[in-house]
């Protein structure tokens, strides 16, 4: 509920329109690349550069306003709500991919292999009579169209280590928060540094795992529904971890500069929330993609 203070309404700003343009150029470049237009990649790079410029500029403005003490408690609440609901939208984005995984395992593969006839009597009998259900699914209904892999990434190898890394990073970021609340700057920076490091180590391991899967196991995105769900889920997650780790690094940098106070450190919390979200998604991934 509103407080009586005057609400801060920013003056007109160029950042939103720069942001829009940068996204537009990025999408345009991407679309051109898909259509094999040579200039596409340059357009894409310009778009991404603009995007970075926009983020830097926009956040710089917000930071400056925040330091200048223009924000009331109420503005802070608006920011918090914004971040919270944004994370929910991200959850729903991942839900689509988890849904696809669930659907493939619970419905389409059983139907194709003749289990649980459902509404699809005859699918197995007349179309894919040699196909048998399995998970991970390595023999495709049409083996000619998709590549076979030698093996899949076992859960209790690098993925388990990665789970430990991310869980640990969830703990370290919380320690950092506690340190911040006690205004213990050294501890804050140390814990944050540990979190960033854990994040990047995770990404490093994940990249190694990808290389191993593609080169040694022949597991590619073209490997049927298993390869599709595996790479899309872990890929988008890896992308989010990378973004999260970069954001954490920025926060680390800012806390070294002394931007945050005991009471007022929303940016820190927002990134921490985001980090926890990435963490939880990984747990889902570990369980449903790698393990069972």
């Amino acid at each position: 509920m509103a407080t009586q203070e005057i609400y801060y309404i920013p003056e007109g700003s160029k950042w939103p329109i720069v942001g829009t343009l940068s996204l537009f150029v990025t999408f345009l470049g991407g679309a051109m690349m898909f259509n094999s237009v040579d200039a596409g990649k340059y357009v894409l790079i310009i778009g991404l550069a603009l995007l970075t410029y926009m983020f830097a500029g926009w956040f710089a403005d917000v930071i400056a306003e925040s330091i200048a003490g223009k924000y009331s408690k109420q503005v802070d609440v608006s920011f918090r709500m914004g971040m919270g609901w944004f994370i929910l939208s991200e959850v729903m984005f991942f839900a689509a991919f988890f849904g696809a995984l669930y659907y493939a395992r619970m419905f389409s593969i059983p139907w194709l292999s003749g289990e649980g006839q459902g509404g699809h009597n005859g699918t197995h009998e007349f179309l894919w009579s040699s196909f048998q259900a399995s998970w991970p699914m390595n023999v495709m209904p049409d083996p000619a169209k998709y590549t076979q892999y030698k093996d899949v990434v076992p859960a209790f190898g690098v993925p388990a280590i990665n789970t430990a890394l991310l869980l640990a990073s969830g703990v370290t970021v919380t320690f950092a928060h506690w340190a911040l609340k006690k205004a213990n700057r050294t501890a804050l920076s140390a814990w944050l540094f540990a979190t960033v490091a854990l994040g990047f180590i995770f990404v490093y391991f994940q990249a190694g795992e990808y290389a191993h899967a593609m080169n040694d196991l022949d597991l590619t995105i073209n490997g049927g529904i298993y390869g599709s769900t595996f790479y899309l889920l872990t890929g988008f997650h890896g992308f989010h971890v990378t973004m999260g780790a970069v954001m954490l690094a920025v926060i680390l940098f800012r806390s070294l500069k002394g931007h945050f106070s005991k009471k007022d450190h929303f940016a820190f919390e927002a990134v921490a929330w985001y980090w926890h979200f990435v963490d939880v998604v990984w747990l889902g991934l570990f369980i449903f993609v790698y393990w069972i």
């Binding site: 139907w111 194709l112 509404g119 699809h120 009597n121 005859g122 699918t123 009998e125 007349f126 179309l127 894919w128 209904p141």
Partner: protein, 390 residues
């Protein structure tokens, strides 16, 4: 002025329709759902009518109250506004009554659905496979097993439907509702119909059977029907499947069991004969006539009557290297046999002599005057040769 008189009769019907809607909704004047010719389709019709009446009555009551209020509680009539703003009792009532109505509709719907779901103990099984843009029927089980039929839009509709054809659709009663070869089935027999597809999703719909089912590539759906009356029943593809979606009708001829078995015997002989045509030799004139017929039946939807195709979607055959260059004869034959990209394969559907004539035709029509003659034998060889089409 045909247009104007058309307009007049349309307007008359509009007036009729608006004023006699509830009445005419019952008459069979192309205003209402068809009752169909299977027990299921009739039950569906009943269910439709019941629901229609239920909502009509609800509508009359609800709008009646509203109009009463609009006429009597208006300021110009001196109505003073009351102050009330809620009443728990009426709110509960108007939650419970609709719930009750819905439950009473859901019960018969559930029973009907369960009945429709049971495809067991069918005597004949037919698989309908959609492709852009025709249907293929394989008789899998029961009398007629082994028959295959390809069924696409009739040549006359194809011609009329060309843009700027100058032909009037009004001249063809079954415009876009006829096929070259209908599927034939016996009456009073439980028939199981499987639907699937080769390329994109289609849907197989015969209103007189009471249902439609999607034809999904890689999956099979099944459904059933017992047709109770002989006759010709018409339907359409009802899932958007590209440019030819409107040109993919379904025609079913329901005949007595006797006629059906007779048809099966005849069909089997004809099918055996058409398998072996590679020894037939035709002269140029025969090839052109036959080729034109095949072209109109199979190729015209995409490549158009003038052979120029549709820009961006279907390439022109006029002047196309495949169709004019001498060393592309093999490619040309195999293009038809195996298809390519969005162009479907015709190898299974067309006999050697059919392919030979349509290839000859396209190499000589519309100014592609190559003078090339392709005989069935060459097609038979093209079938055996290594694939040059990727």
């Amino acid at each position: 002025m045909k247009g104007i008189s058309k307009l007049k009769s349309s307007l008359q019907k509009l007036v009729l329709a608006l004023f006699f809607m509830p009445l005419s909704a019952m008459a069979d004047w192309a205003l209402n759902m068809r009752q169909g010719v299977t027990p299921i389709s009739q039950e569906i019709y009943q269910m439709h009518m019941v629901t229609l009446w239920v909502v009509t009555v609800i509508g009359i009551l609800v709008f009646g109250v509203m109009f009463w209020s609009i006429f009597h509680h208006r300021k110009s009539k001196g109505a003073k506004a009351s102050k009330f703003s809620h009443s728990t009792t009426v709110e509960i009532i108007w939650t419970i009554i609709p719930t009750a109505i819905i439950i009473s509709l859901a019960i018969p719907a559930t029973k009907l659905l369960i009945k429709m779901d049971d495809t067991s103990e069918s005597a004949i099984t037919v698989k309908a496979t959609g492709s852009q843009w025709k249907w293929k029927y394989d008789y899998l089980d029961g009398v007629g097993e082994g028959i295959t039929i390809f069924s696409s839009l009739d040549a006359k509709s194809k011609e009329i439907s060309q843009r700027d054809s100058g032909l009037d659709p009004m001249d063809h009663v079954n415009y876009l509702r006829d096929v070259d070869e209908p599927i034939v089935l016996p009456i009073n027999t439980k028939i199981r119909i499987l639907t699937t597809s080769q390329d994109v999703i289609h849907a197989w719909w015969l209103p007189d059977l009471g249902w439609k089912r999607d034809a999904i590539p890689g999956f099979i759906n099944d459904n059933w029907a017992v047709i109770e009356k002989t006759g010709t029943y018409r339907g359409k593809c009802t899932e958007i499947c590209g440019a030819g979606h409107g040109y993919m009708p379904i025609v079913l001829k329901a005949v007595s069991m006797q006629d059906y078995t007779a048809w099966v015997d005849e069909k089997k002989i004809a099918q055996a004969a058409s398998k072996n045509t590679s020894n037939i030799v035709l002269n140029m004139e025969e090839l052109m006539t036959k080729g034109e017929a095949v072209y109109k039946a199979q190729c015209l939807v995409c490549h158009q009557a003038n052979g120029e195709g549709l820009k961006g979607a279907f390439p022109s055959i006029v002047g196309s290297p495949v169709a004019v260059e001498a060393d592309n004869r093999m490619r040309h034959n195999q293009q038809i046999i195996y298809g390519k990209g969005l162009m479907p394969a015709f190898g299974e559907q067309l006999s050697d002599v059919d392919i030979a004539s349509v290839v000859s035709f396209t190499r000589n029509a519309w100014g592609n005057n190559t003078g090339d003659i392709i005989q069935a034998k060459e097609v038979a060889e093209a079938r055996k040769a290594a694939k040059v089409i990727k």
